[in-house]
């Protein structure tokens, strides 16, 4: 349908605008001023408007959800709303959401949404409530909520193609290069700033006879796709462009895949084609890999002596630059209110509380993730209570300035990851990048066309 296509365009333009603004810096902030803002500041906000009601919240298991559950009594005391939190592992949470949303009568009023996987699908299904009306209503949004405080990348993520804002930003996941400073120092190698230098450093540090591998990253199909799409950003390239055209056989796509192949086929531990983040974490945490490229959320386990042998030795570096640009592959989660719920008000209150400044600062202080609010990074209390190294926070802030969504925001994102993931895994065992990408592109094209047409 033409209408759908037009919507997709406008959404892409939005994202582009959002991420462009992101490149200008976190501090810049995309201000979403409302005329009511001035009034709001004076208004006496009534948190107890829904006193006595009860809501159900469905979250995916993560250190961030643990924080929300831990501080939940605070919300209950503030509002008089009773909350039942259901925290289930991510894969099962996604199944549960789909099953319940399609039934039209979900059992949860608030749920966590993984933008990089579910945004397109939930947007098309109209599963979540458009929160703009509540956000503009001084009786519904506390004066100190400060929507402009969210980073532009987060706002772009939280906004759908047609301008609906159906989630409140909670966490942004940037990809960074973890490096083992001890191994680098022993060989006198400097931290690589570009992909080219990364390959050279991996070669210099690779010493399997002494139990050190130059580089590790996900090789397992599906899981491995963000490694490649993030590398592609160095060529200022995206896998699917604004017109919905696949750009996966371009020079940039092949060059990024070639870097992936060089690093994983030559300098990674044996069996890397079966590695997801956990095998990579194990390898790096045991001190047997010099570098690891993955999401920013692994500082807590890497700095925990019960789980890691590299405590105090980890450097947190930015995603290496390509020949044309330096970005950081970005993913994220938000909280949304079920459209099918009959408790929109209390559910919105919870989402609002969960994403307020204090809770976002707690995310940072505990190293549970990367808050979507810029204020968290300058919060003196959060910085004083850090349980992770300052270097991690520095990497987080610097990544925020160059963050760019790494996966295309399409409905069939799982199929995209599966098909191109197999191509990448094949490359590790020696297949030609150009041929593999051409084959995968042909396989995926009809799936994408079908999803854009429907």
């Amino acid at each position: 349908m033409i209408g759908t296509r037009e919507r997709r365009h406008s959404r892409r333009q939005m994202i582009k605008a959002g991420t462009g603004a992101a490149a200008m810096g976190l501090g810049g902030g995309l201000v979403r001023a409302t005329p009511a803002a001035a009034h709001r500041a004076q208004a006496d906000f009534d948190w107890r408007r829904y006193e006595g009601e009860s809501i159900n919240v469905l979250l995916a298991l993560s250190p961030r959800s643990d924080l929300l559950v831990e501080y939940q009594p605070e919300f209950e005391e503030l509002t008089g709303i009773t909350v039942t939190s259901d925290v289930v592992p991510e894969q099962q949470q996604r199944q549960k959401q789909i099953i319940e949303f399609t039934s039209g009568n979900p059992s949860f009023d608030v749920t966590a949404v993984s933008w990089h996987v579910q945004k397109g699908l939930f947007g098309r299904g109209g599963f979540l409530l458009d929160l703009r009306e509540f956000l503009d209503d001084p009786a519904m949004t506390a004066p100190d909520y400060d929507l402009a405080d969210f980073s532009p990348a987060a706002m772009a993520f939280a906004t759908q193609a047609d301008g609906r804002m159906d989630t409140l930003p909670y966490n942004i996941d940037y990809w960074i290069l973890y490096w083992n400073q001890e191994i680098f120092d022993q060989k006198g190698v400097a931290f690589p700033e570009t992909l080219e230098e990364t390959v050279a450093a991996a070669e210099a540090l690779h010493d399997p006879a002494n139990g050190v591998y130059g580089f590790v990253a996900r090789g397992l199909k599906n899981a491995n796709v963000p490694v490649w799409t993030s590398f592609m950003q160095g060529w200022e390239a995206v896998p699917i462009d604004d017109q919905g055209q696949l750009q996966t056989t371009t020079e940039a796509a092949v060059a990024a895949a070639t870097v992936y192949q060089e690093l994983l086929a030559s300098y990674a531990p044996p069996g890397v084609s079966g590695f997801n983040w956990n095998e990579c974490q194990t390898t790096f945490g045991q001190g047997t890999a010099a570098m690891w490229f993955d999401g920013i959320g692994f500082a807590t386990p890497l700095e925990d002596p019960a789980q890691s042998r590299v405590v105090g030795k980890v450097g947190y570096g930015l995603q290496p630059a390509g020949p044309e640009a330096r970005h950081s592959g970005t993913f994220g989660d938000g909280l949304g209110v079920s459209a099918g719920s009959d408790k929109h008000g209390p559910a919105y209150f919870y989402s609002q509380w969960a994403t307020n400044k204090q809770n976002q600062a707690r995310v940072l202080a505990s190293g549970a993730g990367a808050p979507a609010r810029t204020s968290a990074y300058t919060d003196p209390e959060a910085l004083a209570n850090l349980t992770v190294p300052q270097g991690w926070v520095d990497a987080l802030i610097a990544s925020g300035e160059i963050g760019l969504p790494s996966l295309p925001q399409i409905v069939p994102v799982t199929e995209f990851r599966d098909i191109f993931g197999i191509a990448l895994t094949n490359m590790i065992t020696g297949a030609d990048p150009e041929q593999e990408l051409a084959r995968a592109t042909e396989e995926f094209r009809p799936i994408l066309d079908q999803s854009l047409a429907s």
């Binding site: 993560s62 039942t84 289930v88 592992p89 199944q95 983040w277 945490g285 002596p305």
Partner: protein, 290 residues
């Protein structure tokens, strides 16, 4: 076993060559046994080893099998972070109720199908077992929401019947088909109806079958994960969910995972060991040998 049947009468000396051959056979038998059991045993022992080590040792390479600093922290943490007692009680109630209901319906059904030779019907019953459980979830969810059974143990018990019932019917069918028709005919000749033949003759003879069916139905129900995730709420979840709750993105916890898995496996393991005697006893004392 051939090894046992070659025993000679007391007092006779065994020729040396025969004795060696017998020893060889016994060794071969033990080696074969070890090879056959090793996949199951090794995994179990490895799980035990994981649960007693801190994670930094669990992810070490080369792997450490015997813990250098054994610890019970993993178990402690599992019990501290998950409502194990509640989930355990839920699991027990659901598995027991589902098993009993499966037997109640499945045993007469199996008898009926076996006696009527209704193989088409038997196949239809099996279809529900062959269909992936996930495909039932949406209709079930809608149904239970409408009936107000969502988030209750009843929802789980009913859904677990889909797994337990076909197994029970099929196991019982096999047992009843093997039963000598003369035994039931005797009951009929004595003036009892088909119901009496079932109740007084077939049922007692099929007790080992019922035990097998009950164990299988119980284990399947006990281990079922996905129904509990979708159809149960925070207070009605079962134990397998507690095992998965140990795994989170960004956190590795092999030790805790193994500890949780052990705690969840233990009741079923004990049950099987206990009931196994029943099966063996049933097989040797029953009328099954004709």
């Amino acid at each position: 076993m051939g090894v046992a049947s070659t025993a000679l009468p007391r007092g006779q000396t065994v020729p040396l060559a025969l004795r060696w051959r017998r020893l060889g056979r016994r060794l071969g038998f033990l080696c074969g046994l070890a090879v056959l059991l090793s996949p199951a045993l090794f995994v179990f022992l490895w799980m035990l080893s994981l649960s007693l080590k801190p994670d930094v040792e669990n992810t070490a390479f080369p792997p450490v099998f015997i813990p250098t600093s054994p610890t019970l922290d993993n178990f402690r943490e599992v019990f501290a972070t998950s409502p194990f007692a509640l989930y355990g009680r839920n699991s027990f109630v659901v598995a027991t109720a589902a098993t009993l209901l499966s037997l109640l319906v499945g045993v007469p059904a199996g008898y009926g199908i076996a006696k009527a030779k209704a193989h088409g019907l038997a196949f239809v019953v099996l279809v529900s077992r062959m269909t992936p459980g996930l495909s039932y979830l949406i209709p079930w969810f809608m149904l239970f929401r409408a009936l107000g059974l969502h988030n209750t143990l009843w929802a789980l018990i009913i859904t677990h019947l889909v797994i337990g019932l076909p197994i029970t019917i099929w196991v019982m069918m096999g047992f009843f088909e093997d039963l000598h028709p003369e035994l039931e005919e005797a009951a009929l000749v004595d003036g009892g109806g088909i119901w009496a033949a079932f109740r007084d003759v077939a049922l007692p003879l099929a007790r080992p079958g019922m035990v097998v069916a009950a164990i299988l139905a119980f284990i399947f129900s006990w281990n079922n994960f996905v129904f509990a995730v979708v159809l149960a709420g925070p207070d009605t979840r079962t134990l397998p969910v507690a095992v998965f709750n140990v795994l989170t993105f960004e956190q590795l916890a092999w030790g805790k995972l193994a500890a949780a898995a052990l705690v969840v496996t233990l009741p079923v393991l004990l049950l099987t060991v206990l009931v196994q005697r029943q099966i063996v006893a049933g097989m040797t004392t029953g009328g099954m040998k004709g």
